[in-house]
Amino acid sequence: MRDTSSERGEAPAIVTLQAVEKYYGEYHALRGISAEIRQGEFFSLLGPSGCGKTTLLRAIAGFEDISSGSIRLDGRDMEGVAPNRRPTNLVFQSYAIFPHLTVAQNVGFGLRKAQMSAEDKRRAVGEALEMVGLGDFGARAAHALSGGQRQRVALARALILKPRVLLLDEPLSALDKKMREVMQVELIKLQREVGITFILVTHDQEEALVMSDRIAVMFEGGIAQLDDPETLYRRPSSRRVAEFIGMMNFLPARVTGSGSGRIEAEVAGLGRVTLDAGQCPGEAHPGAAAVGLRPESLTILFDGGVAHDREVRGSVAEVTYYGDMTYYDIALDGAPDTVSVSARNMPGRRVLERGETTTLAWDPRALSLFC
C-alpha cells in the first residue's frame, strides 16, 4: 500500500475545515464537514451531483457564506473575508474566459493592481502562457479558442497570482474524452511543477483516482470517506462508497461468528470464508450482510489453469470486449445474481463465449464485508 502523507511525516494543513454547515433555507447543503487539506497536495472532492462538493469549494473560495463552523486558510479564519481577499483562485467550470479581451489580457487580468512594472507584467504573462503550452497565443481573441485552450488560459490566469490554494470546479467536464485524458496528465504535472495545493471538484471517480493524492467522497452534504485513492478503492468504508468508486460486485452473506480479529461468514457462491477484521468497516455482528469484490479479484482459469484451493464454477452470461480487457457477466453456482469479472486479453488467451462454463479462482483477502 502507498504510504500516506502523515506516515511520511510532512506537509502541515493549508486548509482546515471545521464542522462546516450550510443551509439554503430548509435545505441542508453541507453537514458537519471537517477535514484538513495539506500543503502541496492534490485533493479531490468527489461525489454525485447535488452532494455539496461545489458548494464546499465555493465556500472555500468565499462565494458562499457558511451557516456555522469555520474555514481556515493558511492559518487565518476566513469568516467575513471577501473572495478577492482570499489566498485562493478558482478555475470555473465554464472557464469564465473574458470574451472581450485577448488571451494575454485574460491571463494578466489579476495583475492589474500588482505593484509591478508593465515590463514585468508582460514577462509574467508570457511565462504563465508558456507554462500551459500556449506561448504563441497571447495576441489571440479569447472567444476564438477551443475548449482545451480555454482550460489552459483559465489555469494560467489563476496560477499567475501564485495562490496558496488553487480551486478547480469540474475543470475537465466540458472536454471530450481524449482531451480530458490529456489534460488529466497535464494537470498532475503542472501541480507538481508549481507545488501549489490543488482542490479539485469532480463527479468522475476515475478522474479523482488518477489525479489525487487524497479524495474526500461526499454524499448528501457530508464526507463519507477521506482517504488516498488506493485505500478508497481497496477498503471502502461503506457499501455506498464501494458502489461509487469503481465497479463492485456484491454477494449476499451471513456472518456466523467473530472474535479475536477474525470474522467467519457464509457467502453465496463462495461458501465459508474467514476474513480479517480489517476487511469489515465498522462492527461485524452476526446475521445478514454483503460481501463485495472487485471484477479483477476473480480470476478466470482459462483452459486447464493451475488448480487453486479456492475455486468456484460459473457460466458466462454476457461478454463485453474492450480491446485490452474483456468484462464477463458470470453466473456463479450458488449466487443469485451474475457478477462482473474482468480479464486482461493477453497474447494466446482466447475470449470466452456466452454460455460457456468456466472455473474462477478467488482470494479471501480481496473481499470486503459490509454489515
Binding site: F63, N84, S94, A96, F98
Partner: protein
C-alpha cells in the same frame, strides 16, 4: 408553385402597411399646397420653410431634451432591473418584473390621464419634466427587455472570476460587466430615444406650454397650407427613426458576436 398566393398576400400586406409612409417623402418634395395627385413639380421649398419657423425649433429642442433625458434615465433604471432579474432571486420577483413591464400593454391614454391628474392634484406644472417622467415609465420595459437579453447571454461566472482575481464588485462592473453589456446599453439608449421622440399621447396631455415635435405637428394640422411642411418634417423623422433603429440593432448583433453567441431574435 404552391407558395405563390401566400407570397402575393405577403407583398400586398407590406405594401398596404408602408405605402402611406411612402406618401410623406413624395409630397414633401411636391411643389403645391394641396395633398393630391397629380404631382405638380419638384421643390425643396418646404424643407427651407422648416428652418424659418421658430416655434418648430422650440418644439424640436424640447423633443431632443426630453428624448435624451428619457434614454439615459430609462437605460440606467433598466440596467438595474435587468441585472436584478437575471442575477438574483428575491421574493415576489415575477410580480415585480410584471409591474415593470406593464406599461408595455397599458393603454397610453390611461397612463397619460392618470399622470395629468396626479400632477394637477400635486399642484405641479406640466411641462418638460412631466413628459420626461411619463416617457421614462413607457421606455423602461423596452430597456429592461433589451438588457435582460444582454445579461442572460453573459456567463455569470465572468463576474465571479473577476472578483476571484482580486477586483472589487465596482471595478468588476467597470472592467467586465459594462464592456460586455455595452452593446445592449447602446441599443437601449437608441430605442428609448426613438420611442420618446415619436411619442404623442403622453406628450400631448402633459406638454403644457412646452410642445414636443409630434404635439407641434398635430397643432399645425389645423392649417392646410402648412401640410407640405409637415410632410417634410415627417420625412426627416422617418429617416431618423429608421437610422437609429438600424444602428441599435447593429450594436446588439455586434455584442452577440463578441460574446461568441448565436442570435436569438431582436427588434429588427
Amino acid at each position: 408553385m404552391k407558395a405563390r398566393p401566400l407570397a402575393l398576400f405577403a407583398l400586398l400586406y407590406l405594401l398596404v402597411l408602408y405605402a402611406p409612409i411612402m406618401l410623406l417623402p413624395i409630397f414633401a418634395f411636391n411643389d403645391g399646397t394641396v395633398i393630391a395627385f397629380p404631382l405638380r413639380g419638384f421643390t425643396t421649398e418646404w424643407f427651407g420653410l422648416l428652418l424659418e419657423t421658430p416655434a418648430l425649433h422650440r418644439a424640436t429642442r424640447n423633443s431632443l431634451v426630453i428624448a435624451v433625458s428619457v434614454a439615459v434615465l430609462a437605460t440606467c433604471l433598466g440596467l438595474f432591473a435587468a441585472r436584478a432579474a437575471t442575477r438574483y432571486r428575491f421574493p415576489a420577483k415575477t410580480g415585480i418584473l410584471g409591474f415593470i413591464m406593464l406599461p408595455l400593454v397599458l393603454p397610453e391614454v390611461i397612463v397619460a390621464i392618470s399622470l395629468l391628474v396626479v400632477l394637477m392634484q400635486l399642484g405641479l406644472d406640466s411641462g418638460i419634466w412631466s413628459i420626461i417622467a411619463g416617457h421614462t415609465l413607457l421606455c423602461i420595459p423596452f430597456s429592461v427587455a433589451i438588457l435582460q437579453g444582454s445579461f442572460a447571454n453573459m456567463d455569470q461566472s465572468l463576474e465571479e472570476a473577476a472578483i476571484d482575481l482580486g477586483e472589487t464588485p465596482l471595478s468588476t462592473f467597470r472592467l467586465v460587466t459594462l464592456p460586455l453589456v455595452a452593446p445592449g446599453i447602446v441599443a437601449s439608449l437608441l430605442i428609448c430615444f426613438t420611442i420618446s421622440l415619436d411619442e404623442f399621447i403622453i406628450a400631448f396631455f402633459l406638454s403644457g406650454n412646452a410642445p414636443t415635435l409630434p404635439v407641434y405637428l398635430w397643432g399645425q394640422l389645423r392649417f392646410p397650407a402648412r401640410l407640405p411642411m409637415i410632410m417634410a418634417l415627417g420625412t426627416i423623422l422617418v429617416v431618423l427613426s429608421i437610422l437609429l433603429l438600424v444602428i441599435a440593432e447593429t450594436f446588439r448583433r455586434r455584442g452577440l458576436r463578441r460574446a461568441g453567441l448565436k442570435d436569438s431574435g431582436g427588434f429588427l
